[in-house]
Amino acid sequence: MVVDPIKIAVLAMGGEGGGVLADWIVDLAEGNGWFAQTTSVPGVAQRTGATIYYLELFPGANDSKAKQPVFVESPLPGDVDIVIASELMEAGRALKRGFVSADRTTVISSTHRVYTKREKMEMSDGRIDSDALLKQVEKAAKRYIRFDMAKLAGDAGAVVSACMFGALCGAGVLPFTRKQFEDTIVKGGKGVKSSLKAFDLSFSKAQDAKESASGPAGKRHVDESAPRDLKTDSAAVQALLQRVRGYPENLQWILTEGVRKVIDYQDPAYGKLYMDRMDALAAAPGGKDVQLLHETARYLALWMAYDDTFRVADLKTRSSRFQRVRDEVHAHPDQVLTIGEYMHPRIEEICDSMPAWLGRWILKPNFAHRFVRLFTLKGRVIKTTSLTGFLMLYMMARFGYRFRRISLRYKIETRQIDAWLERLRKLAGVDPALALEAAKCQRLIKGYSNTHARGLMNFNTIMKVIDQNMNHLAPAQLAEMRNAALGDERGKKLFECLQRNGFSVDGLFTDPEHHRHSLYPAPSA
């Protein structure tokens, strides 16, 4: 005689069909002579939150004399047989809530991630390590069936719930046949065809021990084996690649990518400048450090390919980009697509693109400044698919290839890059590990307009600290400062970090309690 019901917890977020799944399971049980009950707290899931559906199934309903069993409305930790999660972190949440026991709980989850607000809001990379999550669930569960249900649902044109239902069937943990499962979907009557397809695919995956035990690849893995047989017709590029091959094998990949980036940005001569700069570091005392060269190669390329108006115009007008947008928004060939770019260049960006002398002059408070400023008060939507919009950006891009080197921005960036490289060379002599951390600080400089200004300010703050404390600075301290700078937009964490480490903050921050940098435009006078 059966003493205990089958207890199932479903963890899902809004729009993933957790409620549909729960209803299917109840229909399946009730339709086949079982008692079933489900409860949930709806409403919250609708508005982006996560919710838990709890089900209990008990046999004997088809016996006319059967007494109604007493079900409960929420899961008792340690007393759940099956956990179904629509997403990987939700499986983790089941663990946290104590629903997963090693001796009895089968966990079925998708391996894809829906990032949390916290993960998304981070100024750098706030993503949780999926592999760690997966390992935790694997360790806690009796059996863990998982695969990427979001992808599979997408392929089938269904909702994740159909995949979860299929996997539940494939796992063989419920005493119902495949036909009974499928009949339930058919009886439900909504999106039957696509749901059955997703069900079928998921069923097979769950049945296949290997398929259902695959994990997420974790964070991106870059294959850094030295590139071979790179073909080019350009003698100048050929020469650059030759210089790359002069470096140790484990640096060749990143240098090649760096060269590729800066040539794409400007021209082979710019690639030569990149390699010259790398050579200069390698020639400095302590500069042969592989890690240092590796990261400098990365960040130098990124810095040299700084995002000015020419670059943005170039990237926005490429045919490959038009195609990418088409793919991203799922536009069919028979549909007409127009693309509007949201741009808001400030007077600074406009001056940056001018010849240095002119740009500097307009930046000063004079009539020209006031005149140009009139055009920067509002953001504009430029249609790159229209003739005027396209031609404007296209000309801008072409102009960049010709005249970038005389632009104000180029002068400013060059000066900053050279100062940074010089500092790295100096630091390499003191401690290559310290130089490495300083090189990585380039990561702080990103974005545009105000975002860029804020990053640059943090970068400069840290560089100042380096210059003042070059001989008694631990690499770990530098890393801590860098992370602190990425901790918040207002520079508060960086300020605290500097204080904690006993560095003088005089002159670095004017008013740390107040945001020393605003993310927003200044009020119009």
Binding site: T48, S74, D431
Partner: protein, 783 residues
């Protein structure tokens, strides 16, 4: 238009005698009302009974078949007042709302109703929003039953018991001339189960007959001397009759009454959890065959002294399982035991937590400890369920009641110190490790780029983060809050009185706006103190109240707007006019501009109402997504020299409801071959640098991150999911906050006209060759 349609499901309401009903608690209640011959129903939506209102609404034609009048009440007070139809006439009526917020609002009408008493059965169905999943302050409805002397039912959480309670409630109400409240807990409302139906029946007496043959009874009107008489009636007549009814109809249940010399007394709503707890320690089974006596109170107010005397007979101790605080039942039981000189040990909140949700885990621990104490369970045999339950009840603290609170703080401070020490050591170790590795690394191939990382096994605290609810994709309220942020950057931080509704999500990241919330529709009223005394110099800033349209019609028009005019307030109120009571599930309200239905007359402009009560400075913004206009208007409201309250009405339809309304229409138009433009947004991963400012400013669920396609860049780029509805906020925001040029708007023309196609082709005749030229130039240097 409600967020969930019950149009199909309401057909089940026609099931007849002997049919088995499969469905949710709220549907079962509606069926029970029909089976009870109810004449009128009303209420105000709010979790967990929002969907009950939706069922009433979707079943309005079935209700009409049985001559049932259904009304969307203006608020809970209005709903309770509606029950006055049962005072003079044998009309059965039921209203519903969430509690305790609903009982608070309805208290005046409920007091009057229970003073004069009722002739026809009056049932108040309470959605007890307490415990996990609740969104309001944690209080009990029980106090309202006690103070007004209304009877309170708390049925066992299964559909059969719930349906029975509805029927019992009407009979109890009529037998005692007293309104009866029935408590539905959060999960019970959406509990899906079965029960055996009875036939529906129409009332023999209808509101029409009442209208045509009015009855007046001066003794039922609450005014001296009748009001004094009412109090005596309650004590001398209604209460004793209630006690008798409860006993005679066996509303409360004795289970295995003499099975042991200890017993458990439980509210009906907690019975299932008690049984499961006993089941887990081997003293009951799935059918409730308990080896420990249980007294189940399906009626928790009033208590029946005689039933307690009966249950306590031959027992050494009883445990009261009573959710919430104060422990009214336990106090009452103590009184009964004392009065009747019953010598028995009384347990309750000494074993169970003082406050918080009595979920299965909590009840299990309490019941187990009680049974261990009296030798029915071997100590240590059944361990605590291990779980990190949030919100944390007092459960843990109470169980470790040896540790006083102050000491607990010390402990955590100690732990924090320890942790800080560990971190320091780890950092130093990492630094040393990094240095050694850096020194050694020159000789070795580079395995990975990451250095200086402490390798330790991550815990669940590291890997699992919360998912607090927030504004939906495309929510029209998002730009309102963004504009407040932008204005505050210029004018400084303001005092913001928040309200109840989706707009309260503003208090969370990324907006972090709002200082207080005082109740539905009360944001305006709650900022009234922030006005300078007459004659003193004006303040540099004004308080801002944010009010939803639901709250506005609930009471905000009078409490927040009319009275602000009357008292010459200088504050700014932003009314979010999104067409529905959105937070409760998108129910229609008087200003709803879409979805007109025969049973309602909607579409009444908030602006007219506001002007009608005398506001001079009113601005209506017909598209909240127009960030520039929003910002400009708000700045003007905060800086204008005009006296009196300033009201901004920010209109755009609730996106959740709009999508539900528009999507099928669009799909049909596309299928019919009509020209339909679909808009959505995207982020160029080429130009996105992975700073995520946009995400921090907007918080749109469709805005997320993905792996950076650039092999050199490490930070993930922002991307827009397919769930994007093209509201345009991210683009507007990128403009207003001068973020970055990565946002693009894609307009996809379905079924393009010949002109659409031709002009697109003509443009590409020029664009494509130019693109090819640029590509050739790049190809020259590519490798």
């Amino acid at each position: 238009m409600a967020e969930r349609s019950f149009k199909g499901e309401v057909k089940k309401l026609r099931l007849g005698k002997g049919d088995v009903f499969h469905g949710e608690g709220i549907m079962a209640i509606t069926k029970a009302l029909l089976e009870s011959g109810v004449s009128y129903v009303g209420g105000y939506q709010g979790a967990p009974i929002s969907h009950l209102m939706d069922v009433f609404s979707d079943a309005s034609d079935i209700l009409a078949e049985y001559n049932v009048r259904f009304e969307n009440s203006a608020n809970e007070a209005a709903a309770a007042a509606m029950l006055s139809a049962s005072v003079n006439y044998p009309l059965r009526g039921a209203v519903t709302f969430k509690t305790t917020v609903g009982t608070n609002v309805a208290a005046d009408a409920l007091s009057n109703l229970s003073s004069g008493g009722v002739t026809g059965g009056a049932l108040i169905i309470l959605g007890e929003d307490y415990g996990e999943g609740s969104s309001i302050m944690q209080e009990r409805s029980h106090a309202f039953a006690m103070k007004s002397q209304m009877w309170l039912l708390d049925p066992r959480p299964n559909l059969t018991s719930i349906v029975k309670a509805v029927k019992d409630g009407f009979e109890l109400s009529e037998a005692t001339n007293t309104p009866v409240m029935m408590m539905m807990r959060i999960r019970s409302c959406h509990l899906r189960g079965t029960f055996v139906c009875d036939d529906n029946r129409a009332s023999t007496f209808t509101p029409k007959e009442a209208l045509e043959h009015p009855v007046r009874d001066l003794t039922r009107i609450v005014l001296p001397p009748a009001s004094f008489q009412h109090e005596v009636e309650k004590i001398e007549g209604r209460w004793p009759r209630a006690v008798r009814f409860i006993q005679e109809h066996e509303l409360n249940e004795f289970i295995s009454e003499d099975a042991a010399n200890v017993g458990i007394v439980t509210q009906g709503g907690s019975y299932n959890a008690v049984n499961r707890a006993l089941h887990r320690v081997g003293l009951s089974d799935m059918y409730g065959n308990s080896k420990i006596p249980i007294f189940v109170m399906n009626c928790v107010y009033p208590l029946v002294d005689a039933e307690f005397e009966r249950f306590c007979k031959g027992k050494r101790a009883i445990l009261i399982v009573e959710e919430g605080q104060p422990n009214f039942i336990e106090q009452n039981v103590a009184d009964i035991l004392r009065q009747r000189e019953i010598d028995i040990r009384l347990h309750g909140k000494d074993v169970l937590p003082l406050a918080g949700d009595y979920n299965v885990a909590t009840v299990f621990v309490g019941v187990r400890d009680f049974l261990v104490e009296y030798g029915f369970v071997e100590p240590g045999k059944f361990p605590d369920p291990v779980a990190d339950v949030h919100p944390v009840s007092l459960f843990e603290l109470q169980r470790r009641k040896q540790i006083p609170k102050a000491h607990a703080d010390e402990v955590s401070a100690e732990v924090a110190e320890q942790r800080a020490k560990v971190h320091k050591v780890q950092a130093a170790a990492a630094a040393a490790k990094a240095a050694t590795r850096a020194a050694a690394v020159a000789k070795q191939p580079v395995p990975s780029v990451q250095l200086a990382e402490v390798e330790k096994e991550p815990t669940l605290d590291d890997t699992v983060q919360g998912r607090p609810p927030g504004l939906c994709t495309g929510c029209p309220e998002r730009p309102i809050f963004t504009s407040i942020m932008l204005v505050e950057e210029q004018l400084g931080v303001h005092h913001i009185a928040s309200d109840i509704g989706c707009n309260l999500f503003s208090i969370m990241p990324p907006f972090n706006l709002g200082n207080t919330t005082m109740g539905y529709g009360l944001s305006g009223a709650s900022s009234e103190a922030f006005n300078v005394a007459p004659g003193s110099p004006a303040a540099d800033k004004r308080a801002i109240a944010i009010m939803g349209d639901g709250g506005f019609w609930h009471n905000g028009l009078t409490t927040g707007i009319a009275n602000a005019v009357f008292n010459r307030s200088d504050n700014v109120t932003i009314i979010v006019d999104n067409n529905y009571a959105a937070a409760t599930g998108g129910q229609d309200i008087p200003s709803t501009r879409t979805n007109r239905r025969a049973i309602r007359d909607a579409g009444h402009a908030i602006e007219d109402a506001v002007k009608g009560v005398g506001v001079k400075w009113v601005r209506t913004i017909t598209r909240t997504y127009d960030l520039e206009k929003m910002t400009k208007t708000l700045r003007e409201a905060l800086t204008t020299h005009t006296d009196g309250p300033k009201v901004i009405i920010a209109q755009s339809e609730c996106m959740l409801n709009k999508q539900r309304r528009v999507k099928p229409l669009k799909l049909k138009a596309i299928a019919d071959g009509k020209r339909v433009v679909r808009e959505r947004f995207g982020v160029d991963s080429d130009t996105c640098t992975g700073d995520h400012s946009c995400i921090r400013l907007s918080g749109c669920p469709s805005l997320t991150i993905k792996e950076n396609p650039d092999p050199l860049r490490e930070d993930p780029v922002t991307t827009v999911l397919d769930s994007c509805v093209g509201c345009g906020h991210c683009g507007e925001m990128a403009h207003a906050a001068v973020l970055c040029p990565s946002f693009y708007k894609a307009s996809i023309v379905n079924n393009p006209t010949p002109w659409d196609k031709l002009s697109a082709r003509m443009r590409m005749w020029i664009i494509a060759p130019l693109q090819a030229m640029a590509a050739r130039r790049r190809a020259r240097f590519a490798f």
